[in-house]
């Protein structure tokens, strides 16, 4: 999609140049442009003004004459808060010192419910039907719900509220029902009213009424209804079981290793002190940790993990420790005749990437670049990471004299690599024999006699 990059980039550069050259011409002290503070708020916008009015009052609060110029867009007087609205750093000290703790009686004195006649927001006068009540509430009028005494009426009220789709009203009715109905009845009725049920659960979560919430969920469980956000399927149960097992292992590892670390006897902990506790880390992180600190121990097998993920993680951990023998062993398989073979379930190109990220030396890198199956990828990687030998061998196998000759200028003059290229290019006799050999091999492979 983005293939014509060069063209694109040069266009951008061009406009950049134009912009820069104009910079000298234009003087920026102009009043005609909209004034914008550095952070981009137009001077006069709401969020800009919050900072402004707040900062001026903040400075007067501190009792010193404002060193900040009101109306300027520079906030250098306020360390570390220029871009946020947070003023806590300024206010914290003052408030904590000057505020006495408020007692219960204080609350009543400070917030008397007398300032406004009740009649203004209560509506006792008429006898609204459930439907009308819901409608009036939707229009922002406060209605008394106490009038609905019978279960029948209350449920009609709830159904009307649900039909109105306004969560505000639904919740208000639920609060009323919660207060006036026995919870068994409330739960039973909500079970057949899923929308209302969701609202109540949400409300209980929000207000932190844990007990009622648990009662409700237990009630739903018993009737084998879906317990809305608890364990849902057997599959989830198995994940939770896995998590539990992992935590168990982590607790053991943590206790052991903390002991080892503080004792200072183990070399690996002295050389690479732990950065954090392993508790609550994901499984793969735990595996990495174990591959790093406990590679030779049996503990590893306790963590069940797919082959690919295991290889990736172990490789990263051992490469970080520059334990190249372990890396080698990771990819070596023996067949039943005892021959060894290299195999990587993640593909050798990724092995190379990971090793390279851990600054593996060229000798190590080269070994794995050579194993990359796809020729083009192999050449790319070998060229990128300067594995000259692999590049040379690959071109030789491809019988690509032109590329090989071109590559000659990329190796150091007088080096062994240059010599090798020369000998391949010059030794035409051997080369011809080689070509013949491959020709015969290919014919054979094709089944041509």
């Amino acid at each position: 999609t983005f293939d014509d990059e060069d063209d694109e980039l040069s266009q951008l550069k061009e406009s950049k140049r134009a912009v820069n050259s104009l910079r000298d011409i234009v003087d920026d002290d102009d009043d005609d442009l909209e004034r914008v503070s550095w952070s981009g708020e137009p001077v006069g916008s709401i969020s800009w003004s919050i900072k402004e009015t707040a900062s001026s009052s903040a400075s007067s609060l501190e009792g010193r004459d404002s060193s900040l110029q009101k109306g300027s867009s520079s906030y250098t007087g306020f360390p570390k808060q220029a871009s946020s609205y947070s003023l806590s750093s300024l206010f914290k000290g003052e408030f904590c010192l000057s505020l006495p703790a408020l007692s219960d009686t204080g609350v009543k004195n400070y917030a008397p419910e007398l300032r406004r006649p009740k009649a203004e927001y209560k509506d006792y006068s008429s006898d609204w039907s459930p439907k009308d009540t819901v409608r009036r509430m939707q229009r922002g009028k406060v209605c008394s719900l106490e009038r609905f005494r019978s279960l029948q009426d209350k449920l009609v009220l709830l159904d009307e509220a649900v039909a109105g789709h306004d969560g505000n009203i639904i919740t208000a009715v639920l609060i009323f029902l919660k207060r006036t109905l026995r919870k068994e009845i409330l739960f039973r009725e909500l079970e057949v009213r899923q929308v209302a049920l969701c609202h109540l659960i949400h409300f209980l979560k929000e207000t932190g009424e844990q007990k009622l919430l648990l009662d409700l969920l237990r009630f739903l469980d018993r009737t084998e209804e879906v317990a809305l956000y608890c364990v849902k399927s057997s599959e989830d149960t198995s994940h939770i079981q896995d998590h539990y097992t992992l935590l168990e292992r982590q607790i053991i590892i943590e206790a052991n290793d903390r002991h080892l670390e503080t004792a200072g006897q183990s070399e690996i902990f002295r050389k690479y002190p732990r950065k954090a506790s392993i508790l609550n880390m994901p499984l793969v992180t735990t595996l990495f940790y174990s591959c790093f600190y406990h590679y030779t121990e049996a503990e590893l097998s306790a963590l069940q993990i797919p082959d690919k993920q295991y290889v990736l993680t172990a490789l990263a951990a051992r490469a970080k420790l520059r334990a190249w023998n372990d890396v080698d062993a990771l990819f070596t398989t023996k067949n039943w005749l005892g021959y060894t073979k290299k195999k990587a379930p993640i593909g050798f190109h990724r092995v190379v990437e990971i090793l390279q990220r851990n600054n593996a030396p060229v000798q190590v890198l080269q070994e794995y670049v050579r194993l990359v199956e796809d020729v083009e990828t192999r050449l790319n990687l070998a060229t990128k990471y300067k594995c000259h030998d692999v590049v040379i061998d690959t071109y030789r196998d491809l019988k690509d004299r032109i590329q090989l000759a071109a590559y000659r200028c990329k190796v150091e003059r007088g080096s062994a690599e240059e010599e090798k290229i020369d000998s391949i290019l010059n030794n035409t006799v051997r080369n011809t024999v080689y070509l013949l050999e491959t020709f015969i091999r290919d014919r054979h492979a094709l089944g041509v006699q």
Partner: protein
């Protein structure tokens, strides 16, 4: 100041003006000097309605951010809290009120303005804390639909999708319906309503009911909109998951646009004057407003990013040439004329400088190997390649612990493009994700399943290829420079939602009945009667105006695609876009993730 709102086919300044009027009326109710305590989230949306100057005219002298503790010592008569109806905010307000020094004189009066609605739950909560009576005015400010641009309205309700599809809480739909009623009060009854999806059906029902129940809403305004199209986000779960490739879309994907503002890394925006800079390079992000008030931005924002460079370089030449003119200005008159144009030229220059810098920032990312690999996989999925097996790139990303949201976007995309994953594939992904990122994410995975973004292929039938072919969602020959089809916004993929809008205008949905049935939820048509005098007699060649309302969010790329259709010659329809929230794949998935509390031990 709000010129960009009146540039479109529908003058949205009227809506903004209505909002300002309501705000003024409320402020005047609280007589005397005032301080406003802001729920920080609201400052962005309010900024699109009013400036500080308006508040100042109505005696607002101080403004603070809402936070626990004692309120600052402002010498004002009234303290007004502007808040969303959220319980955690009520706790802060309670704390503020209780800590108010009652010994001070004169005492300060408290008021609350709930946005967008008063909440009985919150008032109950305040009552239980014993502070409800402290508030003289408790009112609501129904900021339902906020004008973002000449053709764009948003409710900025961040959790609308989650509430509708996970929590069965349709309150945001109620607000959407109310917003639409306000819109009809200002711009006339919309005669035709089309819709697709459960939520769309609900909103249409509520609108019809509200109209019936408030007969006063029958108005005598000549209708501006011909058609309303209500679309559920879950009809098209695919589009937001793909990486947007328009200029504006990429800015949002990479830096996130909030209430038309974007914050950018400051390095590329060096101080304007040389000599002054250097010693203290800015460390705080550069904030820019992005809307059609800026001529250059209006021109490039909806283009495929690959077409932006050439426009910028063309502009650079024009501006350079314009500045060169000064050498040719000989007479006093000519110089005068040059000087009079200078402010405009300076604005153009600084606009060009900004967008060149932004384009460079984006280019750095779009040319990276990982961006390319990610895009390749997305495009494979969308064109239907290898959607039924575990994807190597996704596995690689998990192994390298790329951000979880990126993984989830890709896995969900694969699931949607395959009408659900094979059980084995789904289990494999889930296992790898949980083992790498932690088991606690099982709740998030559950949410994604509930929302239909992630599922196992139960029916055993993959409908996506049929949908893709019938709606021509994948176009092989896409022209990014001079597009002839909406698929340019994703360099090949034509957003399903916008295709539905396009096909509705011509030739009509009857032609795609079969596909509509494969997509979730009902599709429907309603008509609202107009008094005979208001029925429109269309002039020949006059375009229809359609309001497309995305319930559950819309991306900038979809907006770009609709704008492209508006501008098409002989397209016949112009679009205005409304939504519950402007989203991108990342912000959307994030809204569905379970907020994790720290482990209890």
């Amino acid at each position: 100041m709000a010129a960009h709102l009146s540039s479109g086919r529908v003058n949205l300044t009227a809506l903004r003006e209505a909002g300002r009027r309501e705000l003024r009326e409320f402020l005047d109710k609280c007589a005397g000097s005032k301080a406003i305590v802001w729920d920080e989230y609201l400052t962005g949306p309010f900024g699109l309605i009013a400036q500080y100057s308006l508040l100042k005219e109505h005696e607002v002298e101080k403004m603070f951010t809402l936070k626990p503790g004692r309120l600052p010592q402002a010498d004002v008569k009234n303290i007004i809290f502007f808040v969303r109806p959220k319980l955690e905010l009520m706790d802060i307000i309670t704390d503020n009120v209780l800590r108010e020094d009652r010994g001070r004189s004169p005492q300060r009066d408290f008021h609350i303005l709930f946005v967008p609605r008063r909440s009985l739950l919150c008032e109950q909560w305040l009552k239980e804390q014993g502070v409800l009576g402290s508030f003289i005015h408790r009112e609501q400010y129904s900021l339902d639909l906020i004008p973002f641009d000449g053709d764009l309205l948003s409710m900025e309700s961040e959790n609308a999708f989650k509430e509708c599809y996970l929590e069965s809480d349709q309150t945001s739909l109620y607000h959407a319906a109310k917003g639409l009623m306000t819109l009809q009060a200002l711009y006339g009854t919309i005669p035709q309503i089309f819709g697709k999806g459960e939520c769309a059906r609900h909103v249409a029902n509520m609108m019809i009911r509200m109209k019936r129940e408030f007969p006063g809403s029958q108005n005598s305004i000549f209708p501006v909109f011909d058609t309303l199209l209500l679309l559920d986000r879950n009809v098209d779960l695919l589009t937001p998951l793909a990486t947007q490739l328009t200029y504006e879309g990429l800015i949002d994907e990479i830096y996130g646009i909030q209430n038309t503002y974007v914050k950018l890394p400051p390095e590329k925006f060096a101080p304007k004057k040389q000599g002054e800079g250097g010693k203290d390079l800015p460390t705080e992000p550069k904030k820019l407003q992005l809307n059609s008030a800026e001529e250059l931005y209006a021109e490039i924002r909806d283009k495929n990013f690959n077409a932006v460079g050439s426009v910028l370089s063309k502009k650079a030449k024009i501006i350079s040439a314009a500045f060169e003119e000064r050498h040719h200005a000989k007479t006093v008159g000519e110089i005068k004329q040059f000087v009079s144009q200078l402010p405009h030229m300076q604005a153009a220059r600084s606009s060009l400088a900004n967008h060149t810098s932004i384009a460079e920032l984006i280019k750095d990312i779009t040319t990276s190997e990982d961006f390319f690999d990610n895009l390749t996989v997305e495009q494979e999925f969308m064109s239907g390649i290898d959607t039924d097996k575990v994807n190597n790139y996704i596995e690689d990303c998990i192994a390298q612990k790329h951000p979880l949201i990126k993984i989830l976007r890709l896995v969900c995309l694969q699931s949607v493009c395959n009408s659900g994953l094979k059980q084995k594939v789904l289990d494999h992904y889930k296992k790898e994700i949980l083992q790498t990122y932690g088991y606690e994410h099982i709740l998030t995975l559950n949410n994604l399943e509930k929302a239909g973004l992630l599922k196992s292929q139960t029916s055993g039938r993959n409908n996506y290829p049929t949908i893709r072919k019938t709606l021509r969602l994948w176009m092989d020959d896409v022209n990014e420079q001079n597009p002839n089809d909406i698929s340019y916004v994703y360099s090949g993929y034509a957003p399903l939602s916008v295709r539905l809008a396009q096909l509705l205008a011509r030739p009509g949905w009857r032609s795609i009945e079969e596909v509509l049935k494969m997509l979730p939820g009902p599709h429907f048509e309603e008509r609202q009667q107009l008094p005979t005098g208001l029925q429109k007699k269309r002039q020949h060649g006059e375009n229809r105006v359609t309001l497309v309302f995305f319930l559950g969010g819309v991306t900038y790329a979809e907006i770009a695609a609709l704008r492209f259709l508006s501008q098409m010659e002989d397209g016949g329809t112009e679009y205005v876009i409304a939504t519950t929230k402007l989203i991108n794949g990342t912000s959307w998935i994030k809204s569905l993730m379970e907020k994790l509390e720290p482990a209890p031990f």
